[in-house]
Symmetry: C2
Subunit: 589 residues, 2 copies
């Protein structure tokens, strides 16, 4: 029984990249990618990826080399999810909303060998490369290749290489290095880019394969899906549905921006069946229906299944998008868990409950996906499970093959993240009697704005450098449109000067120059005294969050609410049930 060896026929290293040759074999004539007037079949996508992989090898890319990409949801971005690991390399997708400094930090930390840049991000990339060279003289600088628009080429270049030219010069019949070990890294996703020790999350081929099949199963993605790319592929590799669409032979509808008009046009034209997004996109969808509340007018011809990340949108918002024809499933996840880790699996019997009760059940984050061996809530000092009473809080911990390989070159972060056989999420929750987990408070220092994670410490570090400030703290302020926005509490060195007009604007301008736009505080509160601190000298952020909550805008800005506003429709009135956009990219400190 022990003597039966693993053979090439019965032991194939698990890899989501393997879904592509299979798609070529069995879905070869079906549509793989749609972008503007461009349309590929799975056979074409497969051969294009083989070409690109061989071109990467010809450029000297080798096993475990990092290939970075800064691009929106375009065909090249999709193809690189296969072509880069087919060359043995590791794909690093960079959030396009970061600023040049953060991009430079990622390029430096990942030691990227090659850097693909969408034509629209050439300036950002150029700035990042300048910072890289200036700050780290002697550090390796990646080769740069521009991804021009495949539908309407612009001619924009940054260096000599161009994506389509690389594909063209690649050999589809070249030998590619076979994957030997499923524990090899397939992608690298940064949860945070600007600090001195950025956290680059590595996925193994094995983990990504298991996550992909598990999430297809969890969401119930059937045959012939038409998937609209509203969720950026740079978020957990599109929560694995980049690979998932190859597994199911689906069509990937790529759009550069998740604008309401583009979304509705794509849905109608291509009969979209599935999409993922942060809850903030619901607001965009409701505005775009021409009525703002989905109560009348627009109806989708056929239902579109939406998987949304993190905390569920409030019941009323959910009801409004569902009325338009979106069928929403929500999940909770984080980059370190390869996207969704818990999903609120609905039970038919709950359909018969009154609405408030249904909303309460739907607000729970749910049960572990199948790729996890276990999810639990524990007292992380004792590592004992909390009782299943829906009350006792603890930290949500995960265990299973879809948990990341680890943080790249960051032993401290790895030491903190793994404990006693578990991965610690940093999020606080309870377990209900039926085993469903509910988040009670997120990792304290994460602000989630419009689907993007903001690490409050990073914003604070910039504020500390402002010459006129003695102290500063940043917390989340609820926002009816963006879920949360950063709110800065600052203590000036000179209170008289701070009282002058334009002081807040000056602080904001200082931030704008030093961080991505979405990270810049939407409000600066000048405190007359010191920050509230506890006996140990720790800033009491609970108090600041309470203050921020009172200062928060309650009426959505560009949206025209009818009747209730979103902020007054929270379930149970708890802070964490604001319409926050808690997404799959929770970063922790």
């Amino acid at each position: 029984m022990e003597q039966l060896p693993k053979r090439p026929a019965n032991y194939v290293p698990l890899s989501p990249v393997g879904f592509l040759p299979r798609a070529n074999a069995v879905y070869g004539d079906r549509t793989s990618v749609i972008y503007g007037r461009v349309r590929f079949t799975w056979a074409q996508t497969y051969h294009r990826c083989r070409r690109l992989a061989s071109a990467l090898l010809a450029l000297g890319v080798r096993r475990n080399d990092v290939v970075s990409v800064l691009a929106p949801n375009v065909p090249a971005m999709y193809e690189m999810h296969f072509a880069v690991p087919m060359a043995g390399a590791v794909l690093n997708t960079i959030n396009t909303r970061l600023d040049a400094g953060a991009v430079a930090t990622i390029l430096r930390h990942s030691e990227a060998k090659l850097f693909f840049v969408d034509y629209d991000y050439v300036r950002l990339a150029g700035d990042a490369l300048q910072i890289l060279v200036a700050k780290h003289p002697g550090a390796p600088v990646p080769l740069v290749a521009v991804i021009d628009d495949i539908d309407a080429p612009t001619g924009v270049r940054l260096g000599e290489l161009e994506y389509e030219a690389l594909v063209a010069r690649g050999d589809p019949d070249a030998d590619l290095p076979p994957l030997q070990d499923e524990w090899d890294a397939v992608t690298l996703n940064y949860t945070s880019g600007t600090t001195s020790a950025p956290k680059g999350v590595l996925y193994s081929h094995r983990g990504a394969y298991l996550s992909t099949t598990s999430l297809l199963l969890q969401w119930g993605v059937g045959t012939e899906p038409v998937y609209l790319w509203t969720l950026p592929m740079f978020h957990c590799n599109g929560w694995t549905f980049t690979w998932g669409m190859a597994a199911r032979g689906g069509a990937n509808v790529c759009i550069r921006d998740a604008r309401a008009a583009d979304i509705y046009r794509a849905i109608a034209r291509h009969r979209v069946t599935h999409m993922c997004c942060a809850p903030v996109v619901f607001g965009i969808l409701l505005e775009g229906d021409g009525h703002g509340d989905g109560a009348s007018g627009k109806r989708l011809d056929a239902p579109v299944h939406v998987l949304t990340g993190g905390a569920p949108p409030p019941a009323a918002l959910l009801e409004r998008v569902e009325r338009v024809g979106f069928k929403v499933t929500h999940a909770y996840g984080l980059t370190e868990a390869t996207g969704p880790a818990l999903a609120c699996e609905w039970r038919d019997q709950w359909d018969r409950l009154p609405l408030p009760e249904r909303a309460r059940l739907k607000a729970r984050q749910g049960v572990s996906v199948l790729s996890l061996a276990d999810a639990d809530v524990k007292n992380v000092d004792t590592m004992l499970s909390v009782p299943r009473d829906g009350k006792t809080v603890g930290e949500i911990v995960l265990r299973g093959s879809s948990v990341m390989k680890g943080y790249l070159n960051n032993p401290d972060a790895n030491d903190k993240a793994f404990k006693g056989g578990w991965f610690l999420t940093g999020d606080v929750g309870v377990v209900h009697q039926d085993g469903y987990i509910e988040i009670k408070d997120r990792s304290k220092d994460v602000i989630i704005s419009g689907g993007e994670n903001i690490c409050s410490k990073e914003v604070e570090e910039v504020l500390f450098r402002h010459p006129a400030l003695a102290d500063a703290a940043v917390v989340a302020m609820p926002h009816p449109r963006w879920g949360e926005t950063p709110c800065a509490f600052v203590v000036p060195r000179d209170h008289a000067k701070a009282a002058a007009a334009g002081f807040e604007d000056d602080v904001l301008a200082f931030c704008s120059k030093r961080m991505a736009r979405f990270m810049v505080p939407k409000k600066v509160v000048v405190l007359p005294h010191a920050l509230p601190r506890n006996a140990l000298g720790k800033v009491e952020k609970v108090k600041l969050r309470e203050m921020a909550r009172k200062l928060a805008p309650t009426v959505p800005a560009p949206q025209k609410p009818k009747g209730k506003t979103t902020t007054t429709t929270t379930v149970g009135g708890r802070r964490d049930e604001q319409p926050v956009a808690h997404v799959m990219a929770v970063s922790r400190l």
Copy 2:
């Protein structure tokens, strides 16, 4: 990048057994098993399995020990799929339709330590144990435990141990040995039991896990399925849906026999959503609707999804069962591939085609399931792929982690089965232009009758031992009810004697004493001369099959056909498109 170790938090050995603790955690209060008046929840099933596992350990069962079971689809049979591997042991489910000699051969070959026997099979088991002792004096004899009826205990015993007593004396809190290596064996399924070198197919935990999730995905099994056990669990562990129901928190409705009345009663009472069966069960279902053709009368209240194994039923039969409310998906598989290996994934665009064209497309075996890295049709001499022309035949070959670990203690069979990085199925097929595989001829020496595989060589070996016969050959004869039945062509030593009345009956009686009932030829043809042989002396079975086809009954016996009979409704009239019950347990020689 290379230095990130596997940790308990991110590298958990894959095992389908792990779905049970998860089901306990997240579906604990939901129904797991229904049998008569007995009903368990997932929490109860989990704790019962832990108890049984600890009882097995107390009996001395150790890692890699084989625990055999001879039982129909009862709760104990279900539970053993978890409890036995939880004790580190390997579950061996024995086909209840075998005769005592074949059961003895399996007990001997597997070196079973423990043998669980359903009360209704005590006589068969007793006979098997006697043969074991008589034929192999000194061979280890397994401990025996009876599985009494849990709903209506009978008091029948065979030895001192009884299943419920073992469960009762087990300790649910006992430490169970953790799975260290996902390559360890989880189950052992024999494709053939009577020959001197039986083929015991070993599944690894890894392969079984991957097959389970892949088949749930392929069949689109959603949340809260209610699964009716018409397919015997001893066929490829119920094609992995034993474990699959734990993964989805479904309800397992157990019935001892797949009789029409029991099936319809279970469907109505428990709102069954899913079942698997061989196509032969369609006949049973149509008879049982009281009309014989499903054209009127019985309609299911809600659709029941049916996954059927192997060659599709003829279009007309399919149409009739679908009219009753069964939604049929068909797949092709074999024990060595952990059940389904190919599935005829339907494409929406085919809905618009005329019926004959639809039937032609549905007759194809389809595309590889996701757990396979690849499926192909090759010339196995050159190992080159056949062109995708739908015409050039070759052998169907498979590659991927759902292919068996190997045959237990049978190096010859392993050497033959694995070649050039592929597993050879022995089945002959073509690849169509769109990548869909279609079987053109099955492994020549397999006869599939009523969902059971019969190895023609095994029947021939018995005939060779008949003193009055000089030669014999057995081939498949089409049968409108059983798909195929064995037809024996015999050459008597003395033609005069053979002409006497009762000669055929004597041959049949000889067989009946020496093999399971379903293996006994339904027809004996006495040839006046020698068997037709080619130049190399090989029996020309093609000619015999042709003769058998002409001798075949065309009117189904207990069924009342209206209009066309099933045999005249074959698509294209090819032999392999008769309503055969080609199931997941194809054995090869």
